[in-house]
Symmetry: C2
Subunit: 363 residues, 2 copies
């Protein structure tokens, strides 16, 4: 087992990574201070792992909360099911909420933990590659609003994150690829040598080689933990983690939640950010193409939806959280391995980027 | 103008107290960092003060959000109206939410600020005595759930609190009395000399003497700021602020929100806490009667609802946030001016307290 420490002062917490950790109850028990535990999961993950996790936590008074699966469920109505179950089972302030599932479960269970009785303990057991390398690290929790993604939420840190790499064997390959979009992102924004490692290992990752997966997850969590530790509340450098996300959120909003996977939208969005960085003269066309090729080899889309034009993108990007005083700020690359957050670009370059024929570009 | 500082490290903030402060826009402007401001108020307060406050904040891009009045509105559906309005008017992360109204508005606007885009700035302009001395100080925000009061929320500190004492001239006298319940509470839990001052000044307070009101508000805020500063997240001493609240919440839940005012329920609940403290031999019957008399002179009920029996109380108290690992903890008085939070009492004493004939006791 590998353990990383996310350093946030009194809100620091460990990330444990390894195979079959879900069966090692003592790893979780040492982070649980009360007698009550609620396991929040969904109807896809529950048949696979709920019984095993419940057995590991046999010493506690358990309340399983099984939600319907899907990004479309990341709303107030589903969140309310968590509160209903906690109150009906009389969970008090000393309860611990354990999130067992992907990013949607982690975001909702985390926001429920942040809000239930104004804050209770929270542990993440992410079971998708995306949530293991992204949403389980850094304390972002929340739900969607009909007018925008992740608009309601809290920054709330877990007591611990337990990553069982062997849960990935039940993950659909499309979702594995979506997770790889975020893994590749870490290379692009802050770790150029990792890009080289990924180029050598991307086929092994897609074939679920456990050694390669463990290394990729560990390196991704290290990158994210370092960035989050330096900037917990997203005042500055943390925003670079959103490479591809402003374009990607526009895609998700336009298509309706759940049509494109988050990582797929981020991948196409990353291609747009690469193209814009290239148009600004910050990276070369060859560097852009190198990154596009890696995303493509990871099984990811590298072209935005055919039915979206520049107008559609601008409309959805105007309510993005990175809009400051009306000025649009984007995460772009100064070079491979170095991202910046900037609003300092000619509007024409953005509009040109939104109007590129990506099919032609990426062939 | 009087100014107190609530000392919470990087989350410290000032409380400004004085007459006609609502017209002094610069007092608020110095705590607003963006260009957008949303004023959250209700349809009772809006006709009285919204125009004046809007004029004071004329330099900002304002979004007024007028909610229906009442504790029954302190729910997700009404909170959602705030998010809808913020997103429709494209408020970004640099926005400031100003709460103009009583405790319900402050709690909802505060939770909206804590949750909107995972946290935006927040300023309180409380217009009821209760919210001026209680809910605007200390960072508690939240909404009710059908199964319990204040069950969903956050600890979230404002940038500043502006208390305009002259807004109390439009407050119904029943609500003024409800505010006095909390004022008297500060004397009971931590400031015995203040009890003497209140006995001399309670009639002046009810007659809206501005000098007396200013003094009472200032002293109450000091008491609360001191307690909150020592214990922001309610691990220990802060819980003493809930004197009368466990019994009081049971009354509010049983009667349905909005039938009894919060301060009225706290007053009757405080009488029950006094009676229990007396039964435990911690205060004398004379001290109990002295406090009951002061509550009564403040225009407050000192007897729980006739239709509630001991069973009703126990049922509602079992989901109170102060239940730890199944053990009920109560705020009781060791003496006038010193409260403790304790679960260390014979259950029979609690049951006897719940079965007292309070009509006879308080005559």
């Amino acid at each position: 087992m590998q353990t990383l420490q996310v350093d946030l002062g009194e809100r620091s917490y460990p990330i444990m990574i390894g195979a079959q950790l879900i069966d090692q109850g003592e790893l979780l028990a040492r982070h649980i201070r009360g007698k009550q535990v609620a396991i929040v999961t969904n109807d896809t993950v529950a048949p696979l792992y709920l019984e095993r996790l419940s057995r590991s936590l046999g010493e506690f008074k358990l309340t399983p909360i099984v939600l319907p699966d899907g990004e479309a469920q990341k709303n107030w109505q589903t969140l309310q099911l968590i509160f209903d179950a906690l109150l009906s089972a009389r969970h008090d302030r000393n309860t611990t909420i354990v999130a067992l599932g992907g990013g949607v479960i982690g975001d909702m269970a985390g926001f429920a933990a942040a809000s239930y009785q104004r804050g209770v303990d929270f542990i993440q057991v992410p079971t998708t590659l995306l949530s293991q390398v992204d949403s389980s690290v850094g304390g972002k929790t929340g739900i969607n609003h009909p007018l925008g993604k992740n608009m309601i939420g809290a920054f709330y840190q877990p007591q611990a994150v337990l990553i069982d790499t062997s849960t990935l064997v039940t993950l659909p390959s499309r979702e594995l690829s979506a997770g790889l979009a975020e893994v590749i992102k870490y290379g692009l924004i802050c770790d150029e040598p990792f890009l080289g490692w990924l180029e050598e290992n991307v086929d092994r990752l897609r074939a679920l080689d456990q050694v390669a997966l463990t290394e990729a997850i560990k390196r991704s969590c290290e990158a994210k933990a370092k960035v989050v530790g330096a900037d917990e509340r997203e005042a500055g450098i943390r925003a670079t983690l959103n490479l591809g996300h402003t374009f990607g959120h526009a895609i998700e909003t336009h298509q309706g939640y759940g049509v494109w996977l988050h990582g797929e939208a981020v991948s196409a969005g990353t291609v747009m950010a690469l193209e814009m960085s290239s148009r600004l003269g910050w990276i070369s066309a060859a560097e852009r193409d190198r990154a596009v090729r890696l995303l493509s080899r990871a099984g990811l889309p590298v072209v935005p939806p055919v039915d979206m034009n520049a107008e559609d993108f601008l409309k959805h990007m105007a309510v993005d959280k990175k809009v400051l005083n009306g000025q649009l700020r984007l995460v772009l690359l100064k070079r491979l391995g170095e991202a910046v957050v900037t609003g300092d670009f000619p509007r024409e370059v953005l509009e040109a980027t939104l109007s590129v024929n990506y099919d032609a570009l990426t062939q």
